[in-house]
């Protein structure tokens, strides 16, 4: 401490910091106040430089740690270790604040939510994502993740809402990437709707997807398959045909087109597509034969054609042949139906059985009193139809029909009535011929109705 005060010049006792005049007695050994001020400014500049380096080191370190722990967390998540993934991703988020981009931070947060979900902490994941959502409600990825979570929690209405938000939300990436993300989301949403038996909703979404599909056979087939599931065979056929335009030998597209045509009632086209598919080489890993449903459809379509005696453009001999075949199938349908419900039909003899005898036989074979009323009705109908079949037996021969083409119409009428009776009392048929007959009847009934 100096012995005299710089301010008033009075002596200052040793150990005192301030003079009696109030001035700071210790001025240090650096000289005047202005010199010290100047040195202070220089020190400030130096401090700025040092701090800049320190801050840069700090931010770089934190960014590296954030990326490291994010990588660890993602690996753990993919490996199925949800608990470790959760801890790692939480650590990543700690270091991510202010040191990574917003998009990266959101990716961290979304992965954390997935880890929470994988760890069966659905409520926490939901709360976490909802919190994020309130900050960025238009983030498509966030909405998609919320949709997944809501679906897992059984909140159907929320899931649908978030899916819709995700489709029309903001995606990060190039325009092509964004378009693909939207399309993938739409397809995922469609799948969700189909799984929840909301076919009409799925159709709407799929129609939107179909409007902007690229020229990609796989994509068309995927959409076509979902259209079929949603009960829109016409749109499905359109998609499969577009797939075939890209690759006309694509077996899966041919099968899909065939099934779609079959569902639309166009048997010839169905046979054409499925026939082509059956001769294409199956891709590696798939069976050489057609899938079971395609095979059945092909059989039914083929059978349908062989029964369709009303098809335009066929010759009288072919018509007679088909009508005779249809009669046999209808008769067999009645016999099988009666057998399945325990009704005994009269044995066909030369000529025909009288109604009284038919009635007596029916009474002798009547079921127990409990089912008497309904079975009576079924038996009556079946016996009546069968009697008609027996009455028409002579006129159902192919040769007779060839000579008397006018007999085809009443025979056809009988065939359809027999099918109606059998369907009413025995339900949907299982055999190929019976199914074909049912389809034939339904098709012409619909045409007559129009």
């Amino acid at each position: 401490m100096p012995e005299t005060c710089w301010n008033c010049g009075r002596p200052v006792s040793s150990g005192r910091r301030f003079c009696e005049c109030g001035a700071n007695a210790g001025g240090g050994s650096l000289g005047s106040r202005e010199t010290i001020l100047l040195l202070t400014f220089l020190g400030l500049v130096a401090a700025f430089v040092i701090t800049a380096f320190a801050a840069r080191f700090y931010h770089d370190r934190r960014r590296d740690l954030a990326e490291f722990w994010f990588g660890q967390g993602t690996s753990d998540l993919h490996a199925g270790d949800a608990s470790s993934a959760l801890s790692d991703l939480q650590t990543a988020l700690i270091y991510a604040r202010q040191d990574v981009s917003d998009a990266q931070q959101q990716a961290f947060s979304l992965n954390l939510a997935q880890a929470l979900e994988a760890d069966h902490r659905l409520d926490e994941a939901h709360a976490y994502l909802l919190d994020l959502w309130q900050s960025t409600p238009d983030s498509a990825r966030l909405n998609l993740e919320l949709a997944h979570l809501s679906a897992a929690m059984g909140k159907d209405a929320d899931a649908q809402r978030y899916y819709a938000n995700a489709i029309y939300g903001i995606w990060q990436g190039s325009p092509e990437q964004v378009h693909q993300y939207q399309r993938d989301t739409q397809l995922e949403f469609s799948r969700y709707l189909l799984d929840h038996n909301e076919s009409m909703g799925a159709q709407s979404v799929l129609l939107a997807v179909a409007a902007s599909l690229p020229r990609d056979a796989a994509m068309h087939m995927r959409v076509g398959g979902m259209m079929l599931e949603a009960g829109a065979p016409a749109q499905a056929l359109d998609q499969y045909q577009q797939a075939l335009e890209v690759d006309r030998r694509n077996r899966e597209a041919l099968i899909g087109a065939g099934i779609s045509s079959f569902d639309l009632g166009n048997d010839r086209e169905a046979i054409r597509y499925l026939g082509q598919a059956s001769i294409q080489k199956a891709p590696t890993g798939q069976a050489a034969t057609l899938p079971q449903d395609a095979t059945r459809d092909l059989s039914i379509a083929t059978a349908d054609l062989s029964l369709d005696f009303l098809e335009l453009g066929i010759g009288p001999n072919e018509r007679a042949h088909r009508a005779a075949h249809a009669y046999e199938v209808a008769k067999a349908r009645l016999e099988n139906c009666a057998k399945s419900i325990g009704v005994s039909l009269p044995v066909p003899a030369v000529g025909h059985v009288t109604s009284s005898r038919t009635t007596a036989l029916a009474a002798a074979n009547s079921p127990s009193p409990a089912g008497e009323a309904s079975n009576d009705g079924a038996a009556q109908d079946l016996l009546s139809a069968y009697e008609q079949a027996l009455n028409m037996q002579s006129s159902s021969r192919e040769a007779t029909l060839e000579r008397n083409p006018q007999l085809v119409d009443p025979l056809g009428k009988f065939v359809f009535e027999a099918e109606s009776v059998a369907a009413a009392h025995c339900g949907v048929p299982t055999s190929v011929d019976d199914t074909a007959l049912t389809r034939l009847e339904a098709r012409y009934a619909a045409q007559n109705h129009e």
């Binding site: 100096p2 005299t4 710089w6 301010n7 008033c8 010049g9 910091r17 301030f18 005049c21 109030g22 001035a23 700071n24 210790g26 001025g27 240090g28 650096l30 000289g31 005047s32 106040r33 202005e34 010199t35 010290i36 001020l37 100047l38 202070t40 400014f41 400030l44 401090a47 700025f48 040092i50 701090t51 800049a52 320190a54 801050a55 080191f57 700090y58 370190r61 934190r62 740690l65 490291f68 722990w69 801890s87 939480q90 650590t91 988020l93 700690i94 270091y95 604040r97 202010q98 926490e124 709360a127 976490y128 919190d131 994020l132 309130q134 900050s135």
Partner: protein
């Protein structure tokens, strides 16, 4: 001492300089290039020095900005040091391995005890009370090695997992930097005393990234006044430091919560419940700390070397199951705001943090209490919000809002700084829509804490240290005596300046009072003695008006609402002063004398002693007596 300065008697007078310095005395034989360059540089330097010469008031303001910049840089480096310390000692994982969790705080406790008790003896404590004591006891003197020691010890303490925060130490470091600069620049005693809180505000503002809250805290808790001179400097320093901190650490709010919107007006009841719970929590925190600290200090002296290590060991054991309790805990506050803990865990964390922080503080580990207070508040708030969300889902907003309000609630209840707590919440969240719930909750917590714990925590700590510092809360709550409570009714004749001397003298016989008040039409007042009137009459000036006879100085006027402090300053040698109406200075309401003032103070002092609200106040009053 510069050879160019002249001795000056006025302590605030600028330090004068002579003309720019001259080259060395010896004559130059043949000036070369180097010598010419040296001369030119010296001249420039002297010119710069002359420019920097300024009055102390201006220097003080400039220094405030410089202190703000230095404090901001120091806080940034402090944050980096804490981070580096944490990464080195505990690793980068959020939940370090069990061996590390146990060993590191324990081992660093040993190191800290050596540093804090041997090498840097002034670094113990949070920093707030130490700054106050520097200001009121040591004329603003804070040794610079305290700044260095605080930096090192707190970085190690927080980084090793002690349950402490960086804000209070930042406050003390800022104050220390300011004190060092002020002394180096030879500021007067008054200015050096005032520069410490300027630095304190700068340090706190940078640490919290919130200038308004820092300014309010320093004014509420350190300075205790709103004087214009220091307020300007404090604001300048706080803003400067925040600017620097944001340059290097980013300008994002400390916590990101969705914008608040009131779901239902009944939600305010929920925040009222939070206020009650927060108030009780802060009460528990204060009581535990006030209980634990003196008892640990009362242990044998040699235990000071092991107390920090034992505290570290206990915190490490807690950290095995709840690592969130270690360190400042900001990242876990963020997680609580995003609903990542169930309410049972939140309550557990709050309770454990109260215990751990009390342990760390009481064992003498250097470090702050602000961050732990916020942590406890966040956990309590999120817990209350979780329960309300469960039972009243339609009337409860997002959990983040409850956690945020909870922070402010604990701040108000524990630290007893209600204004600061409101603005702090607004600034750290950047979310001004939440002000109503904050005010409701904070007020309730503050009132509960004040009702059941009259002495604030900082006053408890300073009194435990044997210091008698002014209590800002007690100062705020002291009754301000005003003129109206001390004045008395005027008695006797009031003369007018237009009255003649003889007229006035004729009425003197009626009056016992002397001197008498004289009223002017302009609203001014003066006094006249009876002897003066009698002299005027006897000397033939009886027909003159009092205005002509009394040329003396007018009396100062008082108003009823003015504090007695103002009256004392205006009293000077007058026997009494008139108390007049503010709208009509000619209307006399009363008179006030020095005796009246003293009597009023005596009445108040007597009332405080007889109905002491707290033992501390009664004992203080007894000491004063």
């Amino acid at each position: 001492m510069s050879e160019s300065t002249e001795p000056v008697t006025d302590r605030n007078a600028p330090v004068t300089e002579t003309a720019p310095g001259v080259p060395p005395a010896e004559p130059l034989r043949s000036p070369g290039f180097v010598r010419r360059a040296a001369v030119a540089s010296w001249g420039a330097l002297e010119a710069l020095r002359a420019r920097l010469s300024m009055r102390e008031d201006n220097l003080f303001l400039l220094l405030s900005v410089v202190i703000g910049l230095f404090s901001g840089l120091a806080v940034v480096c402090f944050r980096v040091a804490i981070d580096l310390s944490r990464l080195t000692l505990l690793g980068s994982a959020a939940a370090p391995g069990p061996l590390r969790v146990i060993l590191v705080p324990t081992a660093m406790g040993v190191v800290l005890s050596v540093l804090a008790f041997r090498i840097f003896p002034n670094v113990r404590g949070s920093g707030v009370t130490q700054t106050k004591s520097a200001m009121y006891v040591y004329d603003g003197y804070i040794p610079f090695n305290t700044v260095i020691g605080k930096f090192i010890t707190c970085a190690l303490a927080i980084g090793s997992g002690q349950s402490l925060g960086p804000e209070d130490p930042s406050l003390q470091m800022g104050a220390g930097l300011a004190s060092a600069l002020g002394r180096r620049l030879r500021l007067s005693r008054d200015k050096v005393r005032l520069i410490a809180p300027v630095g304190a505000a700068a340090g706190l503002a940078a640490a919290f990234n919130s200038p308004i809250a820092a300014v309010l805290f320093v004014i509420e808790e350190v300075i205790g006044t709103w004087s214009g001179g220091v307020l300007g400097a404090v604001v300048l320093a706080a803003v400067s430091s925040v600017v620097v901190a944001r340059i290097f650490l980013g300008a994002e709010p400390m916590f990101q919560i969705p914008p608040y919107r009131m779901v239902h007006w009944l939600e305010l009841l929920g925040y009222a419940v939070l206020g009650i719970v927060g108030g009780l929590s802060s009460l528990a925190f204060v009581k535990l700390l006030a209980f634990m600290r003196p008892r640990l200090r009362a242990l044998p002296h040699w235990t000071i070397w092991v107390q920090p290590a034992l505290a570290g060991l206990i915190i490490g054991i807690i950290g095995l199951k709840f690592p969130q309790v270690m360190g400042a805990g900001y990242e876990y506050m963020d997680q609580a705001m995003h609903g990542q803990f169930v309410w049972q865990v939140l309550i557990a964390l709050a309770l454990l943090k109260v215990f751990a922080t009390s342990l760390s503080v009481s064992s003498g580990v250097p470090g702050g209490m602000f961050a732990p207070t916020l942590f406890i508040g966040a956990m309590v708030g999120a817990a209350v919000g979780s329960v309300q969300l469960h039972y009243f889902p339609g009337h409860t907003g997002p959990l983040g809002s409850y956690a945020l309000v909870g922070m402010g609630t604990l701040f108000a209840g524990f630290l007893r700084v209600p204004m600061t707590s409101v603005f702090m919440v607004l600034e750290i969240s950047g979310n001004y829509s939440i002000i109503l719930p904050v005010m409701v909750s904070n007020t309730i917590a503050y009132l509960i804490s004040r009702q059941f714990q009259p002495t604030p925590i900082f006053d408890i700590l300073t009194r435990q240290d044997g210091l008698d510092l002014p209590s800002m809360e007690e100062n705020r709550e002291q009754v301000v005596l005003r003129v109206e409570s001390a004045m008395r009714q005027p008695v006797g004749l009031i003369l007018k300046a237009s009255d003649t001397a003889s007229d006035a003298a004729s009425r003197l016989g009626e009056m016992a009072e002397d001197p008498l008040l004289v009223s002017y039409e302009t609203g001014r007042w003066t006094l006249v003695h009876k002897a003066e009137l009698e002299n005027a009459v006897s000397s033939g000036q009886g027909s003159l008006s009092l205005r002509e006879i009394l040329p003396g100085p007018r009396l100062s006027r008082l108003h009823p609402d003015q504090p007695l402090d103002v009256a004392l300053r205006l009293m000077r040698d007058a026997p009494f002063l008139p108390v007049v109406h503010r709208a009509d200075a000619r209307r006399l309401i009363g008179i006030l004398s020095l005796e009246d003032i003293l009597a009023a103070y005596r009445r108040v002092s007597g009332a405080v002693v007889s109905s002491a609200a707290s033992p501390e106040v009664a004992s203080q009053a007894a000491l004063n007596d």
